[in-house]
Symmetry: C2
């Protein structure tokens, strides 16, 4: 296979290449996509628009030695869509901006695009614009996502009330367990380039790290059951950090129970291998992109039988603080130690 | 003055610092700004929304050895607003994402923010969201801007018709002349650190390079006079490249006249100093952020007396090609040699 240096192609040709991949799914809303100074959209008059933006930087947010470009493209859409979903909104559009160093070939960028395209196809999202620039070092992906919702159905972080139930989707710590495995395999491979990593036993956690999915299924399910969460956030920096956001903005405290926190058996086993307690991985491991939300206590019967939702505790008054009740009944204060790109590792 | 390393601060504190600077000017449209998973906006039901995004990368798009951070912040808003204006729309919101290496201090980021804030104040734009991440090297600024306009008043690149007049605002090649001066002074300074650059004679061109302004005044003026351009684009990559966009998308040719192209005397003098022809600087120098637009021939009387607009030629049939008529009457084919971040320098 022959590889094509990017400087044989040029910025406009690269943008046109992206434009050609695009299907417009929300034809009623997109008046003009890529190709002019700006895109033009016409939101539905009954809906409000939510807007979010996230940047992924090589060797800070991803490591291309174990992250395939196609998955990276997919994940870069997911992390943005997940924020739209956390407002209870339906994602509709994205703009995609790449800064690319000349160590990347056209074929590599096509791989990345393919992942972006696939995510957009899965979630019926239109790529309405973007920018394509060169970088001196590494790959940077900056995405802005937009979605729509009835104003009455918006869910903020600040609506939790004492006695509300605290719910999470899926299981937690899984993406972090995947990261630990991938980093270990990379280290072994660096020491011995003939080493063939055997990741077969770890598929579940690795997939969660390299190909997470936003929980659009859950917000659809809640809508179907007429459940409107009082507060919601997606879990990108770890359960503890996200609970802090909800409690701080809602001016409440909380109490969650270790034995209610969903942790997959494989994650527990990996935690043991790495001498980390499973609950630490669930509280502080990031990138699960599950949803954390609160509902009024009287909706428990509606939610208790939904697959993939766990009730992990309840909201309290602010002066009762934020606590985890561990398996031997001790109350341990919850600290926000989620991932913060500027803090030094401790 | 004591300087504060960024890792003493943390991502959330940095975002909150940005949030505090923000005035919401379009209160009817912004339901929720920074502080949740996504911002929430409610566009006017009579208007369409335009969306554009641009990324600026250190040492590709700017050089901090001569670009003050405050000006960089200002310019990063301008380049995006200019794209909104080129659709004939009024800018309203931006999201601001920064990737910052740990060589920057908190005080440096505050300088950058101050420029961003000042531009937003000048143009009455709301910062509705953003992201803040670390980078291994250098500073990257990614901005998405949104604006609004009646659908009937949108101006695309593709509406130019044969015989339409081709107009430009301001004068051209100026920002490139400023860049040449700044690069020369840097070179001299690198060779002799005791050298004190004397930029006093070059203020006009340097200001155009480090603090350009989007031509909101012009689109307001055109609206006042009931002139709706048939096509419009902002000049970020040089006149020639932008004319190519308009002619290709409108399926036309064009004919422009060297003696009609507005070039400031200082730019001509700098061109002479650098052994470049002034017309080359005007055709291929980027970053002027002036507007290039076309109007029907019969609107000439309306436009001829507007300060700061020059009629430089007219649109032709596509089969007549794209030509510059030089000062001795020769027709020279127009090539698109604007700035392209991936092409090698020739």
């Amino acid at each position: 296979m022959s590889l094509t240096p990017l400087n044989n192609i040029g910025e406009f040709a690269l943008l046109e290449r992206l434009a050609k991949l695009i299907n417009i799914y929300n034809k009623d809303k997109v008046i003009k996509g890529i190709g002019d100074d700006a895109a033009v959209i016409k939101p539905d008059i009954d809906l409000v628009q939510v807007v979010t933006t996230d940047m992924l930087v090589e060797n800070i947010h991803f490591d291309l030695s174990w992250m395939p470009l196609k998955h990276l493209g997919y994940k870069s859409i997911v992390v943005n869509v997940s924020d739209v979903v956390a407002m209870n909104a339906i994602p509709a559009h994205v703009t995609v901006t790449l800064a690319i160093s000349n160590r990347f070939t056209l074929e590599a960028i096509d791989e990345l695009y393919e992942g972006i395209r696939l995510a957009c196809e899965n979630y019926k999202i239109d790529i309405i614009g973007g920018d394509m620039v060169s970088s001196n070092q590494g790959l940077i992906i900056s995405i802005t996502a937009m979605g729509y919702i009835n104003k009455e159905n918006l869910v903020y972080r600040n609506g939790a009330k004492p006695n509300d139930l605290i719910c999470v989707t899926g299981d937690l710590g899984t993406a972090y367990a995947g990261l630990l495995i991938l980093q270990r395999e990379k280290k072994t491979f660096m020491a011995n380039p003939y080493y063939q990593p055997d990741l077969q036993n770890y598929e579940y956690v690795i997939e969660k790290q390299i190909k997470p999915e936003p929980r659009i299924d859950i917000i659809n399910k809640l809508r179907e059951l007429n459940i409107l969460p009082t507060a919601m956030i997606d879990i990108s920096d770890g359960l503890s950090s996200e609970l802090h956001h909800i409690c701080r903005q809602s001016n409440t405290g909380c109490r969650i129970y270790e034995d209610h926190i969903p942790i997959d058996m494989m994650v527990s086993n990996i935690a043991d291998e790495f001498y980390i307690s499973p609950i630490t991985m669930a509280l502080h491991g990031g990138e699960d992109y599950e949803l954390l939300f609160t509902i009024p206590l009287n909706q428990y019967d509606l939610i208790k039988n939904i697959d993939d939702i766990s009730v992990i505790g309840h909201i309290t008054d602010a002066n009762e603080g934020m606590y985890l009740i561990n398996n031997i009944g001790e109350a341990i204060e919850l600290k926000a130690q989620g991932w913060d790109s500027f803090k030094k590792e401790e």
